[in-house]
Subunit: 253 residues, 2 copies
């Protein structure tokens, strides 16, 4: 059987240790093409670049592996991969391993998961992986076993049409990880805060520094799983319709 064509990307850039760990783990499973941003793009969410031009550069190429960097966002990388690099849609997309979690509502700010949603929109089974450690020195070794397990399952079984996976991995030694738990997205919010400073000319500027507050308390949520040393797997879709609100709203008009 022909090896599947697998696209790898992330939002922390090609230089991040997390994408290196992902490439190393996934490489035995198919023909791998990596297209990733040339600089960190955390917090870019599902942004696409329409007001400036995109660059795409070959970084390395061998018989079973190609690597490109792009000056755009993760969503740009996926679209460029489809149309310019591969000239087809890949069989699978894996994104990450992100330096930091994307549990709960953080998925909507996440470039890692935007690439994965791009895959789902195109009908491609896609998975985003995140480690609960923001440091560049994070240890990705305990993650690899779980990344490989989940990737193999997705390659073997596919995913339901329009569904992708958001995987978050606890940052503890491997022997303390209790297993994999399929979850729903926890409720949460950000408590906004800004660091207000003055430039040398006396003009104010701000650095964003909010704090995430988990509100969901169910043991079936991704945040609970992660906090309790489980790898959380949330099946994700892109229909944002609040179906339960349709009928009540109809009475308004």
């Amino acid at each position: 059987m022909e090896k599947p064509l697998i696209l790898i990307t992330n939002d922390d850039s090609l230089k991040a240790p997390g994408i290196r760990a992902l490439i190393e783990t996934i490489r035995p499973l198919g023909r791998i093409v990596t297209v990733a941003p040339d600089r960190p793009q955390s917090g870019t969410a599902h942004a696409v670049t329409i007001s400036h031009m995109l660059r795409l550069d070959l970084v390395s190429k061998s018989t079973d592996y190609e690597e490109y960097c792009c000056n755009g966002t993760p969503a740009d990388c996926v679209k460029l991969a489809f149309k310019i690099v591969l000239n087809r849609r890949p069989d699978f997309i894996f994104s990450g391993i992100n330096h930091g979690t994307n549990t709960s509502i953080n998925i909507i700010y996440s470039g890692t998961m935007a690439a994965v949603l791009e895959g789902a929109l195109a009908g491609i089974p896609s998975v985003g992986f995140s480690l609960n450690n923001y440091s560049l020195n994070a240890d990705f070794n305990p993650s690899k076993k779980f990344v490989r397990n989940i990737a193999e399952k997705v390659i073997a079984n596919g995913l339901p049409q329009g569904v992708c996976l958001n995987v978050n991995i606890p940052d503890v030694p491997g022997n303390l990880i209790k297993g994999i738990k399929v979850c729903r997205q926890s409720e949460g919010t950000w408590k906004e805060d800004f660091d207000e400073r003055e430039d040398p000319n006396g003009r104010k500027y701000y650095w964003m520094k909010g704090v995430f507050v988990n509100i969901g308390d169910g043991q079936d949520t991704d945040q609970w799983a992660l906090d309790n040393n489980y790898v959380s797997v949330v099946p994700v879709q892109f229909d944002l319709t609040a179906t339960q609100a349709i009928d009540p709203l109809k009475s308004w008009f």
Copy 2:
């Protein structure tokens, strides 16, 4: 009764005719504070600015109206409004009127709707308005009656917790608009395409220019409503869990 505090924002910048039409329409309904980007931010989705500093400048101030511009994204504008401009959460958020539609899956690329989702995450009834015309010379006059109607309904009734509204308005003369239809998000996808060019040094670069393809065919979808000269109203929430996929996936692990 005290007038409600209403935050207005958009993603086309403070200079766009669409936000001027929105401010004019909403102004009689409350105390209005506008915080909007200083330059167009279309396609920025739910991006937040964490890797560079934010500026916030007062543009104008009178007894019942204040206007600020910010060098960040729509989501940044909302967060800065809460914490720095208002020092509280506003009672309502209205975003737009966007130059161009945000029907179907385009909500995930939309800065207009990111601001609205920020509102929903903070528990604030919030609505995004978009006109089906990308031109800076679009005629927003026929929209105003519908914007005002929907805004008044939201101010009078609120919205269910965690639900916001995505409103799309057809670009036809007012007498051809058939009414308001509560809908679900249509299925759709983007057919990627890039314009490949060479710079004067012979190096390639790309401009993104995809084409949106509507896949949903139900008369209960927003795209159908818009195509048939109805104002579409989709209730939107931010839980992306594909609930129906949870049980099947549990058998994997």
